[in-house]
Every structure is written in C-alpha cells, then in structure tokens.
C-alpha cells in the first residue's frame, strides 16, 4: 500500500492514511501488521495497528498511532507517497451482530482507535454511548472530534480533568451504571489495568462485554505464540483467535 497521508493529530499521536491499489478489506477490531523498514533489520519485526477507519470506495485504510518506541519513531517520518508493506485482515474483529441495543463503546488511550470504525458500522442500528479516556484534553481532542461527528453520545474522561469527567474512564463507566443507564452490551479497548477493572465490573453488573487485547507480537499471524493469553477456554493467540475476546473469559495475570 502507499502512504496517502501521515500527519500529527495530537501530542505524539499520528494518523496514517494508506491507499490500496486494488480492493481494501478489513473489519472493525481487525489489525494490520506494518513493516517499517524494508532495507534494514532494525527494527526487525512488523508493528501491529488496529484499523481506525476504512473507506472502501477510495480504498483508504487509516490507522492512528502514538510514537512510543523505535518503530513508531521511524514511522512518523514516513513520507506521503512512500510504499509500505502491510499484512492485512488480521485477527477476528468485533462482533457486529448487535441490533437495537443500548451499547457502550469504551476506549482508554490509543485503545480508542479501533472503536471508531466499529462505531461507524453499528451506530445506525443501535443506540451508542461512547466513553473516551486519556491523560488530558490534548490527547483526546482528535478522537473526540471524530466521534462527535457521528450520531452518538460522547463522554470524555481525563485524568487531569481538562476535558469532561475528572478521573479514569472506568470510574466514569461506574457512574453511568449507577445512574441506572440501560446497558445491553459493552465493547472495550485499552490498557490491561483498565480491562481488568472492567472485567470485575461487568461480571458484577452482569453485562455482556467484549474487549480488544494488546500484547507484544512477533509474527501477527499465529505461528510464533508470543502473544498467547490465558482464557477460560485455554490458551488463545491474541493475533489469531483475538484480538477480541469476551471480557469475562480473559484471565488477567495477578
């Protein structure tokens, strides 16, 4: 694929639009595995990014990423028009079968990224509340703008209180549940600590929930077993059987 656009949209946060030559495929919750450098073995491995958006007509696939290491440091300097090697259509994707339900999408930090494509696919046939959490307003502005353009209710939570609720996104979720909001289903993505807290919450409240997990990956296609997580149904590969799992089934390490 070719890089159509690679621009800064927040503090260390970048948006990369890729253009495919032929057809573009991918479902919400799936990810791509991007090779950063063809000519060098440093970094050696690809980097996985969830799909932020797809425009099938224009053959665009968008990811949003945060610069946080050697790979993304190099990625931010990739120029428009450059070709990048992508493995696409990876992982299982979110459950898209919900209809006429009260649904919460909850994302923490870069975990918000896969929820936008999901929201676009399901907001017309469901009632969506979107909960976005980050450290501060600067980190949330881009995502908040994007979701606000959809017909969904958006709630923000920031640790420093600079936008929306002051506190963590899970605390905000708890408040909403206490307010006796009717909630049928939750989609979530974010840091492990957030998902772990959410797990006990959804078990207590008896709400069906699924979560997109992130673990360090090697191959991204199911052979190296670097990203195996424990679940009630045994070991599962985040890259293959996941990254989306029923939240109640994930066993988080102590």
């Amino acid at each position: 694929m070719f890089v159509k656009n690679n621009e800064k949209v927040g503090p260390d946060i970048y948006k990369m639009v890729l253009k495919a030559e032929k057809k573009i495929e991918g479902n919400p919750g799936q990810f791509i595995h991007l090779k950063i450098n063809n000519d060098s073995y440093d970094p050696l491995l690809r980097r996985p990014f969830s799909i932020f958006d797809i425009n099938e007509k224009r053959k665009f696939l968008t990811i949003v990423y945060k610069v946080c290491g050697r790979g993304t440091e190099l990625m931010k300097d990739i120029k428009n028009g450059d070709e990048v090697d992508i493995l696409n259509n990876l992982g299982n994707g979110f459950n898209l079968k919900n209809k006429n339900k009260n649904i919460i999408l909850i994302g923490g930090g870069m975990g918000i990224a896969p929820l936008y494509f999901l929201a676009k696919k399901i907001y017309k046939i469901n009632k969506l509340m979107v909960l976005l959490g980050a450290k501060n307003n600067e980190e949330l502005d881009f995502m908040n703008d994007k979701f606000s353009n959809l017909d969904v209710e958006v709630y923000n939570a920031t640790i420093d209180g600079s936008l929306g609720f002051k506190g963590t996104i899970v605390e905000l979720l708890k408040d909403l549940i206490i307010d006796e909001q009717e909630i049928d289903y939750i989609y979530s993505c974010g840091p492990t600590v957030m998902l772990k807290e959410m797990k006990s919450l959804v078990i207590n409240e008896n709400i069906e929930a699924e979560a997109s997990l992130e673990e360090r990956m090697g191959c991204g296609i199911g052979v190296c077993l670097s990203c195996t997580v424990r679940t009630n149904n045994g070991n599962m590969r985040v890259c293959k059987e996941g990254p989306i799992f029923p939240l109640k089934e994930v066993i988080f390490d102590e």
Partner: protein, 304 residues
C-alpha cells in the same frame, strides 16, 4: 525459466531444495497457507512437542533487540497425544518431508516421544531438541553436556528408525565436541544453531523486558556465530548439517551452504515476512544462475 537443480538428499530425505523451516516459526505446517504453498519448501520442521501439554511462559515472551529477537515462548504445545490426534490428520497428506521436533524434560521423555512418532508414517524425521533455552529442566541442560547429548541420542536411536536430527545449542564452549557426541550417539544429521541465551532490560521499569528474564536470541544478529559453528563442525566431522541462525535472504543461505550446511533453516525471517522461505529459495536459484552453477550440491562446503 532456466531453473537450477536445487535437490538435496539428506540421508534418505529427498528435498526439492535446501530450505527447511525452523521449528517454532512455522506452527504445525498449515498456519501459513494463506501466504505460501508449503509444498514448495524443501521440508518443514514443526513446532516443538513435549509429552504433556505445555501452556508456555508468562508474557511478555518476546522482545526486539537490534537486528534480533529475544523469545521465551516456553515450548507452548498441546502435548504428544493431542498432536497425534489433531495435528497429524491435518498434515498427513502433505507431499513434503515433515520433521517433528521433540523436547523432553528427561531422557525417558525423549524416548517416549520418539517411540510414539515411530509409527507415524507422515513424520519423515525427528529433530531432537536438546537446546531449548526457555525451559527450566531438560532442554539446554542436555545440550550443553556431551555426555547427556550422547545418551539422549543413543536412547532415541534405539526406538526410532528414521533419520535423527540433533539440534544443538550455541551456548557452549566447544560446539564440535557437542556435534561429535551426537554423532557418536547415532545422530544422522546435526541442526544448529538454536537461540543464544540473552536478555533485555527496560530502563524505565528497571527490570527485564521478558517475564522469564532470559530468552533466546535469534535473527541477523546471531548469524556470524551460527555460520562459524557450522563451519567448525563441517571441518571436523562427516555428518550432514542443517544450518540456521539469522538467514533472511538467499545470500545468507548461500553463506551457510558454503560453510558446509547441506540444508538451511529459515526461522526469524518468517516472523517478519511469512513467505520469506519461498523468496530465499528463488534467491538461491538466482545465485546459482549468476555464478553458472548447475547444482546446489556443488557449493556445499566450498568456503573451506
């Protein structure tokens, strides 16, 4: 087309080219079907199996290092029983030599695994993994002791009639002694190198990156060491070698062949590019063309 003759005979294994997948980087042979045609490879080596199911190590199990990867997967696998019930039916019709990789926590377990595979017609050879750095008992502890290598190989050869490949650890003082012990124990082929024990530290958290603290280093970073060891063994012993360690491109594979390997293992490259092994085959062919060599066998050991 002008295709060169890439055929290699490893004992009684007929390979259509010298490229073999390295254990642990190719699953159980069918996972990469979307990316390549398995039957175009020389042979495949399956993910390591143990007697009992193994859940593997805690995460993180992988850490990237300059031109390399540290892994501590910990031999996650379903165990021999499930392997025979669920994996064998999936691969039994593949028209390509299949090598099963076995790991034991005791000599008896190695024997049990070899014995259990003796009856499986679709398994063409076994690779005895005496060199896994990621398990506490057995594994590398066997592969760094000549006496143990000899014993494991000897006992396995009593129950297994097909070709026995012994996979050596590079974490030793003298690799030739280890290869000799395997050969004396009855190994038909030597494969090397397994990964080099290493570690990475997260300076912000001030602790090891891998949950298991140490892991095995692979990738281009280890290639010079692997190449040197293949060269040394070729010089000292008359036994076929499957050389591996950081082979990313055809020219890397050619280096190993020139050092004395009869076949090469492709591992880490597959994690970067799922079809790397196939590309490497065509690049070996290109090398032969450019150098006007008809038969890949002609270059084996030619750097000596």
């Amino acid at each position: 087309m002008n295709e060169k003759n890439l055929n290699i005979k490893l004992v009684n294994l007929q390979l259509k080219n010298p490229v073999v997948t390295a254990s642990g980087t190719f699953g159980f042979g069918t996972e990469l079907d979307d990316y390549l045609s398995v039957t175009n490879l020389g042979a495949i080596t399956l993910k390591g199996i143990t007697v009992e199911e193994s859940k593997g190590n805690a995460l993180p199990r992988i850490a990237e290092t300059p031109a390399g990867i540290l892994n501590s997967i910990g031999l996650e696998n379903p165990g021999i029983k499930k392997f025979k019930e669920e994996v064998i039916p999936e691969i039994k019709n593949l028209k390509i030599p299949i090598i099963a990789n076995i790991s034991g926590y005791s000599i008896n377990e190695f024997v049990q695994l070899a014995d259990s595979l003796e009856s499986e017609k679709c398994i063409d050879a076994i690779e005895v993994n005496v060199s896994c750095p990621n398990i506490k008992d057995g594994g590398m502890a066997f592969g760094t002791d000549t006496n143990m290598i000899y014993k494991v190989t000897k006992e396995v050869s009593k129950v297994y009639s097909g070709p026995i490949i012994v996979k050596l650890s590079p974490n030793v003082t003298d690799i030739v002694e280890m290869a000799q012990a395997a050969a004396e124990g009855g190994a038909n082929i030597i494969s090397l190198i397994n990964t080099l024990l290493g570690m990475a530290i997260n300076i912000n958290k001030r602790k090891a990156v891998l949950a298991n603290t140490f892991g095995g280093l692979s990738g281009p970073a280890v290639k010079p060491i692997a190449l040197r060891m293949v060269y040394q063994i070729y010089e000292a012993i008359d036994i076929p070698i499957i050389g591996m360690g950081g082979i990313m491109k055809g020219k890397d594979a050619v280096e190993f062949l020139l050092a004395g390997a009869s076949a090469v293992g492709v591992g880490t490259a597959t994690l970067r590019d799922p079809a790397a092994s196939i590309t490497i085959i065509s690049e070996i062919n290109e090398y032969l063309k450019e150098n006007d060599i008809d038969n890949v066998g002609e270059i084996i050991g030619k750097a000596h």
